[in-house]
Symmetry: C2
Subunit: 222 residues, 2 copies
DNA sequence: TAGATTGTTAATCGATTAACAATC
DNA sequence: TAGATTGTTAATCGATTAACAATC
């Protein structure tokens, strides 16, 4: 596959393309043009064609894109066909909710084990995933090829757990703790899910909206 | 407050500034320069000063920024002092995990009620938040001033629930369902938390890393 | 005062959009 | 063939970085 340096913005749009293509496929749509796709996603056709051209030529002049083919291409670009193995660390609360609801398999990721320190969880199997003692984690990492760790531990222990993970071959951390995990020179890949950052952004947009209304009312003397 | 149109990129950095300032405050740091803040966040001092200047003048030449003052300014910009009221719709799984772990109050948001259709949940109170029947929701919205809805329902019903929300004064939706909620001409504010998009991006970066290694090994004949 | 550091203007860089030849 | 639509090159736009006068 073509692998030139692709901008972050492009990469963040790829999962959206995938989701839309899945939807189109379900609807029985076989082909789509960049114009129509742009309409549905709120993007310009130019941007869509530019984005795809980072990775190859997936369309056909005068026809557009075959939905199924394009879907498979993007899935491949995202690495969904690589079967990366993941472990989850911290099976309480959000960790548990992820195991319960989130389909790792739909992203092409295999969740092979979870780790916790709570005695009542250790040794149990939840939705087919064994929950093991955190003390066993290092050994487990050494004997299994784990690419991804889902980090759901309390923030106090996050840094120490991260050291064990990165020291034992884990490539990437899906970070659900509310701390900045990225160290300046670390080669580890960190993807943050910061709920509070997300809610605060939303709060900003609400405030902006409210202030607009207020100032308009002032202007019009309401 | 100064309210000029500020780019999305700037807004997304504000919660990170806030988090860092909280950390500095806890450490007992009273003042910080844009240079030092940039070092700690991996940003240029220029960018930091540009970002702040969208909202006002919070620093002092020759001195830098007072941590506590800057923190309060950013909190205000984000609307944390406005006490927005929120409801949560769908109290199972991820919704329940949010109620259990996530501190709405720390973001300055009041979670005042949750709604569900499960009989065994209705009428109970969880962490001080009453869980009501979804059939009561419309009435509740009409008699309370709810700015934000946290959407955690199954995706099949998400669109219909959204109509009820937007039709009854809700300004913004914090969307935990895995569907595209934003309609072309809708004035509703939507903040998406798409777990699968996040994991797929991570999967991309892992794949990129692996391919780099492979191609290097090929070049060096390993 | 001299040194430090801001806020802001100008320069650079990168991302998006427009245009169009190629071709299905 | 004629019409449609791609992939790509060029133009535009916006965001980041650099520079510097103002001033604490």
């Amino acid at each position: 596959m073509k692998r030139v340096k692709v901008s972050n913005n492009v990469i963040r749009r790829l999962p959206r393309y995938l989701r839309k293509l899945d939807e189109l496929h379900e609807n029985g749509t076989n082909r789509i043009s960049s114009f129509e796709l742009g309409q549905q996603l709120g993007l310009t056709p130019s941007q869509i064609r530019q984005d795809f051209s980072c990775f190859g030529e997936f369309g056909q002049q005068g026809y557009g894109y075959n939905v199924a083919v394009l879907r498979e291409q993007i899935a491949g670009i995202l690495g969904m066909d690589r079967g990366y193995k993941a472990i989850l660390v911290g099976a309480g609360n959000i960790g548990h909710a992820l195991m319960d609801n989130f389909s790792f398999a739909e992203c092409g990721v295999q969740l092979v084990a979870a780790f916790d320190i709570k005695e009542n969880l250790i040794g149990t199997v939840f939705k087919g995933v064994p929950i093991l003692a955190e003390s066993q984690m290092e050994e487990y990492l050494k004997t299994n090829d784990i690419a991804i760790a889902v980090l759901c531990v309390p923030k106090e222990v996050a840094v120490n757990v991260t050291k064990v993970l990165t020291g034992n071959g884990v490539e990437a951390i899906w970070n659900f703790t509310n701390i900045e995990l990225t160290e300046p020179n670390s080669p580890i890949i960190v993807e943050n899910v910061h709920f509070s950052d997300s809610l605060l952004s939303l709060s900003y947009f609400v405030s902006e909206r409210m202030d607009e209304h207020t100032s308009q009312n002032t202007k019009t003397g309401k």
